[in-house]
Assembly symmetry: C2
Homo-oligomer: 658 residues x 2
């Protein structure tokens, strides 16, 4: 308390009377405000608060407070099965909306499912199976009202790629299918586990930009894969990168293409794209684009049946197993080598499926302004895939295109998924034989027109404008998928996302502050060129918590600012820097490494005859400065509430000096 | 620009004249300051600045600026071999200091080296080899003046543990040695690569707390390992965890212990600890503790030789190869299975060795106040280990204990390492046969007394006081090493360090601000209980950059603050919240996900009839708010320089409302 001598202790006492709640007293200039030290917290409470903020930041038990036991039990059941809660208020008006929406998405999902199953190298019925059981489970457990559940293009492609690295789907279809169910099981387990342990924030590590790039790349890859069916090529590469695919396409140009297939495919693709255009142009006509796929299937199947074009080389679906999902509990590998492989593939596929579903759920929840509990959603999605894996389904999730249609068709609740599910059930029971003559080219055309939506070039342009680093992540993921494979693209997306986080924590920004004329406000002089520096005083703001990952950098960066500044005023003894004020406002936390860095900074400055002054440390920081005794080392009178007060403290002292 | 009507445009024009450098004009209240938009930067320049700040934050080419070409060449050579630069000013006075220091650390290192080689499961001469070549290389390339180079306890133990997982050192000593050289080679390559590519900041990811715990655990593990030599046990476990070791010790208590060995060991350990106590008590007598090990070795060797105690079962060194390092270029595995294993082990050992050397270098550099270029140090350490791997050395690095002695003995430059190296050379050439009768118990006693220094319980107490999370990391690493193995301990240390970073970026702090009486300063009401809220206005500060990893959390957290606050004032219509001011001062950056989160926040608030107002966005943020058009969506007149001005804007509007 070395400053006690040059201050009016009388004044201090009055202040203490006013602010009796603070017990720690330290030296203060008369007109200067003290920096508050928050009351000491119990360690247990502190720990509890951290845990709560990390894992229960959404306060999920809020509604359980002050309730009777039986009420708590009912609330608990309702929180697992939200249908019990919203089902009670379900009206006929709701049902009208859900019925129309459900029929619309059913008409869209049936042809898509058959195509997506092919992307996953599975027989067409498995796509339909996955649109029957999972939506039912989701409807009773999920909390999104707009999401449409079923197989999706990107996950199907990813699963197909990862699975065929392990087992050849043509040579060994049974084992391949078994591995697919195993992967689906673990995808579900992964999703549910993340939800139960409230680790949902892990999916936030895939940045929006990376997802845009990955989705775009995957969409184009999927579209290119469709050239096989679209051009009627029989020998086609198993690789998914653009170069292999294009080689396959052109090497078969002379004898491998089938013109009848191309004619059918091209005319219906034109029809689908036109329908899509109409739907986009006039939002009320969205149903045109929604039912166009089903119409295409019906028309083209009828056409092929009449003309027997399949005898001319037009590839057709040929056979879809009739009847609903058989049990597949015994198909899952519960032991052996494939258990581990299925586990690994399941984790990756599960995470990607989760990312897609949560993104969709959040988008529509924010549009309709209702709350969506991410962790509960994960449990629902996980449960649905675990049950799915036992009933011959592969990984299902929320579909971008079908959810949008669901929303526009006026769905009210998850009942639309139940309606869709019933339609799929009826299809499996009665209609599948009719798909025999459906040409593959139509399925390809439907998939192409569906995945085009995933290429969100406008989002990419916006990303370019806002953040160049994000754009690099976006393009990295895009080109990774495009030129290599979905796995490589995903790896690039995750790596770049992570690199950005590392950059954030190792290289925080620092800024030189100046005084904005006619105010007592100090701001970054780069942003406010009119802000003026105070001669003899250097004011630096550190823009991050000071942790082990950046403490050394922060210290060295501050010293470098000092050297730069000293070089500028070289020789001019009058403006020699005598005070270094560190504005700690943005420094929300500091750890032991950070305290050490401050100590080293203090010593370095001392050797140069410069005084270190701190401004506005936050509650956690001031507490740690005290417990580590750094506040005493520095002098408690050198810690101020604002930069302005710190400057006021320095200015008279500057005058005193020679 | 909806606010243009209710403002004096005359005033605006005057302001624009004053601040002509800013080109974007937007609506302003008369007495309100504009938020500066920094001038648009060239993309290339922006990118360049990021790269520079990330990899060249220390501005290594500063001294190259404005120099002639030949001068630049000389500076380049000098930057690789700093000895050329400081060597020119080397004086006889410097040499006196270095000579004494060099002789002191040599006396300390010779017995330590023999013991440490045993920890690495290598013959004793390899420890001495590693104290001959690497210090010479370091002396010409390194820039620390105080570090003492050679084998160290923790790295020896780590290397020994990792290597014996692959090859049994007793059954197959030759292959084991070859793998050791391979690992050393890749350790050097790893270190040099990190330096050349300026990735030195990667070692900052091992937090100070984790290192304290890891070192403490490793020290105790090493001390426990010495019980073998100390008690004269012949059959000893290969595991390093405390339970296995204690089982080994007690199962051999009846017939495996050798009382002569224990007597010799215990008496000399007492002597060593007493010498250490004297050295600590009186800093001037530090040399007592420094030469005590050598004295112990000489006395005990002589004693055993006289009494022929080795015939009574006292284990002795027996044989140390005479002569200097043979070449081991051909011993390194350049292909095959062991190449990959050596590579992996080398990376781990190299990183740990680097962490230790850099920590020592930084400590002494800051004590003597000279600059240490971390990346250049890494290149020097890497080069020294690469050369070492080809001359029969295993991983060498800076030793904590010997560097401290070096410093206290008054070393001036790296010449003390050269002196030590020469002494080791003479020892290898002439004296090694004399070590024949040195009892192993003495080496154990020397190692025990050396590693005790690594148990830094005072640091652990300080960590407990400052940061509880850091303490968990510290204890995790400690108990990991103690109860499992060095690898597990290391893994725990790295994982907890990483978890902390993830926590930092996913769960940033937010705070409710209140006005500090008689000022216009707004501060966290938790820290300043006297701060008062403004009725009808909620002020929230977000304490972190808003990135994809936390954007969703930040949005939801702000909405939850709002709900909490609304609950508190329920029913009281007069104080209904009408404005939400977000203080963006600490928000240094925002990415596309962050912008989306702000948009969603804006929409949610709009639906509740609450206006969103921003205060003090930084240069990068305001730029992105403009390019993304969020500033237009929000209304540019709702962005203010300070919270006080934002409140001023809201207050009259509150009065207008019913």
């Amino acid at each position: 308390m070395s400053s006690m001598d040059h201050q009016s202790s009388e004044n201090l006492e009055t202040k203490e009377m006013d602010e009796g709640s603070l017990s720690i007293s330290h030296g203060q200039e008369p007109n200067v405000h003290r920096v508050g030290v928050p009351p000491k917290q119990n360690i247990f409470k502190e720990f509890q608060a951290t845990i709560k903020e990390t894992f229960f930041s959404d306060d999920p038990l809020r509604s359980f407070k002050n309730q009777t036991k039986s009420r708590k039990f009912i609330l608990g059941i309702e929180s697992i099965f939200p249908i019990l809660s919203w089902g009670r208020n379900y009206t006929l008006k709701n049902f009208r909306g859900d019925l129309i929406a459900g029929l619309t998405i059913a008409s869209l999902c049936i042809p898509q499912d058959i195509g997506y199953a092919k992307l996953a190298n599975l027989d067409p019925q498995y796509g339909l199976y996955s649109s029957f059981v999972p939506p039912l489970i989701y409807a009773v457990m999920g909390s999104s009202r707009d999401i449409a559940i079923g197989p999706v293009a990107v996950v199907s492609l990813l699963l197909g790629t990862l699975l065929q690295n392990e087992i050849d789907p043509i040579a060994n279809p049974r084992d391949y299918r078994r591995l697919a169910f195993t992967a689906t099981f673990f995808a579900g387990i992964t999703q549910a586990t993340l939800g139960v342990f409230r680790l949902g924030f892990l999916i936030d590590f895939l940045s929006h930009a990376a997802i845009v790039g990955f989705m775009g790349g995957a969409a184009i890859t999927i579209a290119l894969q469709q050239l096989k069916g679209f051009l009627g090529i029989k020998k086609f590469t198993k690789k998914t990168d653009v170069i292999s695919v294009m080689q396959s396409v052109f090497s078969s140009a002379h004898h491998g293409w089938n013109w009848q297939t191309i004619v059918i495919g091209a005319s219906f693709l034109t029809f689908l794209l036109f329908a899509r255009y109409i739907g986009k142009k006039n939002k009320k006509l969205f149903w045109v684009s929604a039912i166009a796929p089903l119409i295409s299937v019906i028309l083209s199947t009828f056409f092929v049946y009449i003309t027997r074009a399949d005898k001319e080389g037009v590839a057709i679906v040929k056979h879809i197993e009739k009847g609903i999902n058989p049990s597949s509990v015994k198909e899952i590998y519960w032991s052996g080598d494939y258990l581990g492989k299925g586990f690994r593939i399941g984790i990756v596929a599960g995470m990607i499926a989760l990312t897609e579903a949560i993104a969709i759920g959040r988008t529509f929840a924010s549009t309709k302004d209702y709350q969506l509990d991410g962790n509960r959603e994960m449990v629902a999605l996980g449960a649905m895939n675990v049950v799915g894996s036992m009933t011959s389904c592969y990984v299902a999730t929320g579909s971008f295109s079908r959810s949008a249609v669901n929303f526009m068709a006026g769905c009210e609740t998850a009942v639309s998924n139940i309606v869709m599910s019933i339609v799929v059930f009826l299809t499996l029971q009665f209609i599948t034989p009719l798909f025999k003559y459906t040409p593959n080219a139509i399925l390809s055309a439907i998939i192409i027109s569906a995945v085009i939506n995933l290429v969100d070039y406008q989002a990419a342009i916006l990303i370019w404008k806002i953040d160049k680093f994000d754009f690099v992540a976006c393009m990295g993921a895009f080109f990774g998928v495009f030129f290599a494979s979905v796995e490589i693209g995903l790896l690039i997306a995750v790596s770049i996302s992570f690199a950005k986080i590392l950059l954030q924590v190792t290289r925080p920004r620092t800024a030189i502050l100046g005084k904005i004329p006619t105010t007592t406000v100090y701001r970054n002089i780069q942003q406010y060129p009119e802000a003026t520096k105070i001669p003899g005083v250097l004011i630096i703001r550190v823009d991050s918590a000071i942790y082990f990952s950046n403490s050394n950098y922060v210290k060295e960066r501050i010293l470098r600012w000092l050297v730069d500044e000293e070089e500028k005023i070289k020789g001019n003894y009058q403006t020699r820097i005598q005070f270094l004020i560190v504005d700690m406002s943005p420094v929300t936390d500091i750890d032991t490494s950070g305290i050490h860095a401050l100590e080293e900074l203090y010593r370095s400055l001392q050797k140069r005859g410069i005084q270190l002054v701190l401004a506005n440390p936050g509650p956690v920081v001031i507490d740690k400065l005290h417990t580590s005794n750094f506040a005493t080392l520095l002098g408690e009178d050198k810690i101020f509430l604002t930069v302005a007060e710190a400057v006021e403290y320095c200015s008279p002292k500057l005058a005193e000096d020679p």
